[in-house]
């Protein structure tokens, strides 16, 4: 089951079941809200407060200076590379695992979940070991002028690793839930495999696919630990936005750091809104 669970926001109180008195209820609500406030809300508000601490001009400057723009471009570029490739994988895996049964299917499904369980630092570490200067693969590539670790390909690979599962999980679930009847109907009606996939299957899972894309993109743009390991932290070149936030912070340029961080908060808010809307869209069709 996904962590981005399809909770029912509308439930409210259950009619007829009032195990707690009003005072207890108020207390519990208070505790819950206090918890969320202290752990989540206040820190997020602090980002904006600190971002504008030195006024709007300073904020704007932090956001448009050369290194920030470079970081923004690298972040966007990484997402633009990683999301489509993971979508391609997700659709292929969705078709193979969602529409067919075969021995070893549960093993493959389980393997697809692995990147979600791996710590971000390890996710970056494995690529340093695999393609870094110490491995023969890495040395081979360097010899031919291809730099992977401490350059954007490494960042893209590490990011692809950590976001590997997001699209696939949603698509596999959706394709499996859709059954085989419609595709078989299309085949009998004369459609080729590709026509069946593009005209029948893809539209039927479009919300699940978009949902996975939104999650994948959020993680791809926001990943810190894994990218931190493989990037080499070269300012203006191999820094993504989250890394740039760290660099500014380490340089004691606090309000600039928060200014750039606020951009990522906007991204997070957008992700949450998109996620909520897509969840609703998914629950609607018959």
């Amino acid at each position: 089951m996904g962590l981005w669970a399809r909770g029912n926001v509308e439930t409210g109180t259950r009619a007829g079941v009032r195990p707690a008195g009003r005072a207890t209820r108020r207390l519990l609500i208070g505790v819950a809200l206090g918890f969320v406030a202290v752990v989540v809300v206040v820190p997020v508000l602090a980002v904006f407060a600190k971002a504008f601490q030195q006024g709007v001009p300073a904020y704007v400057h932090a956001v448009v200076e050369r290194e920030a723009i470079a970081a923004l471009r690298l972040t966007a570029f990484t997402a633009a590379v990683v999301v489509p490739t993971n979508v391609a994988f997700g659709l292929a895996a969705g078709w193979a695992l969602g529409k067919f049964d075969f021995p070893g299917k549960s093993l493959v499904t389980a393997l697809i979940e692995i990147p979600l369980a791996v710590s971000p630092v390890i996710s970056g570490l494995v690529f340093v070991l695999c393609l870094g200067p110490r491995s023969f693969l890495g040395r081979f590539l360097l010899h031919h002028g291809v730099r992977v670790i401490f350059a954007w390909p490494g960042i893209a690979l590490a990011t692809a690793f950590v976001t590997f599962s997001y699209v696939a999980r949603e698509v596999i679930t959706a394709m499996e839930a859709g059954g085989r009847d419609k595709e078989e109907a299309a085949i009998v009606l004369g459609a080729s495999g590709w026509q069946t996939f593009s005209r029948v299957t893809l539209p039927s899972i479009r919300w699940a696919l978009l949902y996975g894309v939104v999650l994948c993109n959020a993680r791809a743009m926001g990943e810190f630990g894994a990218v931190s390991v493989v990037s080499g932290h070269v300012r203006g070149e191999t820094e993504t936005l989250p890394l740039h936030v760290e660099t500014l912070y380490d340089d004691y340029r606090f309000s600039a750091s928060f200014a750039v961080a606020s951009l990522l908060v906007f991204l997070a808010v957008f992700t949450l809104v998109a996620k909520t809307l897509l969840q609703r869209a998914r629950e609607v069709p018959s």
């Binding site: 109907a185 009606l189 018959s286």
Partner: protein, 330 residues
Amino acid sequence: MSFEVIGLDKSFGAHAALSGVSLRVPRGELVALLGPSGCGKTTLLRVLAGLETPDAGRVLFEGVDVTRTGPAARQVGLVFQHYALFEHMTVFENVAFSLRVRRAPAAKIRARVEELLERVRLSGLAERLPSQLSGGQRQRVALARALAAEPRVLLLDEPFGALDARVRQELRAWLRNLHDETHVTTVLVTHDREDAFEIADRVAIMNQGRLEQVGAPADVFHDPASAWVMRFLGDVNELPAPNGQDRAGVGFVRPHEIDLSRSIPAAVSYEARVRRMHTAGAVVRVEFDVDALGRGLVADLDERRFEELSLQCGDTVFASPRRVRVFDRL
């Protein structure tokens, strides 16, 4: 288009869905595959469609072996049990699908779809989505979609299964009319005897992967090939085999083939005592006990006969079976 299957075998793991099934269907016939759940009728349908490849045997369309041909090339129409409509497409697009994937010109598609929607009486609903239609309407869309590409054989998998009784009856009659207009060879899979008997030219009865009997509805009903078929097609009474017949056999009599009378009739009869009576639609069902046999039997009387006899519970009557079929003891 006529088709034939010869010696089909198909197993899924340890389960044998089809065993040695052979059937020939001439052009234009509407044949029903009738049988209980799990008898293999849907598997046979899917083999005909090309969605399953048999382990052994052949499938011939107009004498041409198509056993290894894929579904798209076979030009069959298939209506799924739950219709399998494309939910995100309008009724028009659903019906047009087979023509669109063949890249037919737009004008031709429009003409053909409108013609079909007219025929299935859904003309005004072309722009609706499947979720906005009733069960009966969805079924007709599925049918129109299957007919759009002018299939050589039309295959229907429990087409009335998900509908309520009244809609079921209307659609049955309508389907028969449609068949009479189009003359497309049609195969109908159903577990419902009434579906089969009302509209099929011939009925092929299946049980556990085998064909038990093939014939016109009246023939299979009046001359069942086995005890199983007889039991499957209706209620039966079991009697010992009449004198002079094979002792190991069992005699089967249908409730409406038993005459009751107050006086001893000329034919062979059993003395019986009426236990219970109730109205079963157009007939009255009388349950009675036959001490000589040590069991209870059932007779269906039409209203007139019932009134003539004016039976009461506990009355003594004489039951004479008009027609007994003897089969080996199962």
